[in-house]
Subunit: 319 residues, 3 copies
């Protein structure tokens, strides 16, 4: 280390410490209240082992002892989840006064237990998503491949877990979970969204599903689809307001389409073509396509001006 | 752990076990037949060390001993790959009867050996991709930077490895490999696609290249490009059908363009402008641009109505 | 291992070694000059611990001992950074002759020290980004959630670190840093871009910000936005030329918009609507929206021809 570094060290340390003090969020470092992102990801990995037995561990499983496998995982999950939920509740000041504080342990227990009891239901939902992926993708050779490698299944599985914690009003943890999935897959599903069974996201990179979206059963969406808000100009004042669309049963939304606004409803059985930009409701049984922007073709070997050929765009081609 | 948890434990375990039994895919847990995603990623990392010596390990390499380095890596790769391919073949029931079963070892050996012998060719192809990246990107300071950090090189390298295993009809593993690259880069190249030398993907997030795409030499594509199918309504019945386009030599495709359909051919030396949506073939030497959607400009300080200015869109600007 | 493998081994090893020799980039394996991507990522993780104390470590922090925490981190960061910068300078031949070579240690010291002294400023900038994220996103429950999980904050924090090293002409390392962020978030910010305070990227997947972009204060951008070049046909000859746009203060750019070209300036307080494609400057205080491509609606239960309904597109809806 250079001498200059030593000489400048004291000054630097005190400047950084002063920055901590100036920002209330970092003046809390004395507490050990913060949730641990690492442990939350461990919880997700153990839940994945629970939901997809045999796929993500090196242990040999056997039908005779499968109950021990499940029990072991549940105990480990409960221990970690309990610790993280307690951190999150404490930190978020969901515990406001002394009498409530004494209930913190009980509250944490209740949330944990309620969540764990939902696991069989979460598992069933994820199994419907698997089926939808297999039925919807000609390149899926088998279901194992989907479990091992499909980003849509990864992101939706984590969303289904996070969503139950979100409904139990657990702070912070659901978002950490879904952003972990976002980082791994490029699929950004807010834990607050409501999504029915048999949901399939193909390819998925760039998908954004906003907090107050409502999605029915048997919906299929492709890469780059946004279910978004028309405006977030209101910032924090919009918390809780329905800002994102409703997608009814059996709807397919092709890549790059944006559907925006809390009052926008896509009626059941409808199909939204690629790159459509929709800010109004669409009735049931409707196929929506964009009148494709005209293309200009120019031969790069001649000096001819661009020829504007209307590219006919028959909707049937793209669904 | 709370008492409630204990009391509810037995019930929960049996519900989850019942879910396993209901779904045939999870009733297989007694077997140890499944491929290991962790080991498949290790294989990729060792292959990367082989292809880019000195870049992804802490060992000092020397020209005197480089053969040992290569040999060590090959032995390790072969051992892991052999184990994984055997798992995948067994699981997928590519081995149908007893006499075939006795050939499993031989079949695995043959695939492994054939693949390893292809490594020098794979390496040469990847070197052409490196050259294309360097020639095509003004912000690439040097080739080292490209090897260390370009997502396009990462994804294409893994694709080139996975593609050879795909051609050898190895189940499951090629997709695990390309989805690993997808997760790391946002670039989704199906292992079945055929891609020529000197291929460069710039930025890359959101790129999707479908299973039956055919891409010539010296092709350059940008972020958000889809080479997709017009319809996947047929689901599993479409397996094997050419559903994705053909891109001939020396074509450039700018960001956000979609080229769809198994009969769509982009002729050599053509340039496809950003956001174009193409479902029909384009002849050789053609520059295709979209007639840009009109923009509306409104001064937010006045009450004037939106002024519709046609934004002139000279194609030369964007290539 | 099969006998065939053994027999083919020698041949294979020599082919791969020959490939190394043919490509000058890999003939360098004898040297230990290469930077270590692993250690560069460790540096980023320690810098993150420094900037967000208490969020990304398991240690309990206390206000009494916070100076030790800072000091420890700085020593560790300096040691690693010094090693990596020296590697990068050596490798890149920034040291051209003997007298310069004797200065390598001093040059490395100077860069390290200059960078470390910038840390309080970097920290302040990142705090403004945090504030912008909180103010701009209704679904952000609290600032902790943003620090833990928002991809925009992750990518911009790493950009701010990499940018200072870029300005100090450190080779290779800045790009490794920003591509690490790209891999984790789908947000691709070139270390060369200049970005003012209070910068917020929401969702972020698919964002590309080119090397010579200039962005003012209080700018907000959404997923899929490209600040790009009109042409990179010139390849390496364009190095250093301003190829990417300038975005002035208080501009918002909605999802999927592309703004291209080094002479393109988006004037302050302007708002660019979703999917706009802009290659010319936009004055101050302007709202730009695309005249939405017409949508075709067809009832899939009838044989009616597509009805072309003009979807009214009032700009106010989308800002």
């Amino acid at each position: 280390m250079s001498r200059d570094f030593d000489e400048n060290m004291v000054q630097l340390v005190s400047e950084i410490a002063a920055n901590y003090r100036r920002n209330s969020i970092f003046s809390l470092y004395a507490s050990s209240k913060l949730a641990s992102k690492v442990e939350i990801i461990e919880i997700l990995q153990e839940l994945r082992q629970l939901v997809f037995p045999g796929f993500f561990e090196s242990k040999k499983l056997s039908s005779d002892t499968i109950e021990y496998y499940i029990g072991d995982l549940l105990i480990s999950i409960e221990e970690k989840l309990h610790r993280q939920i307690k951190c999150a509740l404490l930190y978020k000041n969901s515990i406001d006064n002394e009498s409530e504080a004494s209930c913190l342990e009980e509250k944490t227990n209740n949330i944990c237990l309620t969540f764990l009891k939902l696991l069989p239901k979460i598992q069933e939902y994820i199994n419907t998503d698997l089926k939808a992926a297999y039925d919807g993708d000609p390149s899926a050779g088998d279901i194992e491949q989907i479990i091992f490698s499909y980003p849509g299944i990864f992101a939706v599985s984590i969303y289904r877990i996070a969503h139950e914690l979100y409904k139990l009003s657990v702070p912070c943890i659901p978002r950490i979970m879904t952003e972990y999935a976002h980082s791994e897959t490029g699929i950004d599903i807010n834990a607050g969204a409501q999504i029915g069974k048999y949901f399939f996201i193909d390819h998925g990179t760039g998908v954004v599903i906003g907090e107050t979206s409502i999605i029915g059963e048997n919906v299929k969406i492709y890469q780059g689809v946004t279910l978004g808000a028309l405006s977030t100009r209101g910032g924090q004042s919009l918390q809780g307001v329905k800002r994102h669309p409703t997608i009814e049963d059996n709807v397919t939304i092709y890549s790059g389409a944006s559907i925006l606004g809390g009052d926008t409803i896509i009626g059941k059985n409808s199909v939204i073509g690629g790159n459509a930009f929709i800010t109004k409701s669409v009735p049931e049984d409707t196929r929506v396509s964009i009148k494709n922007p005209e293309l200009k073709f120019r031969n790069s070997n001649s000096n001819s001006k661009p020829k504007e050929l209307e590219q006919e765009f028959i909707f049937d081609w793209i669904i």
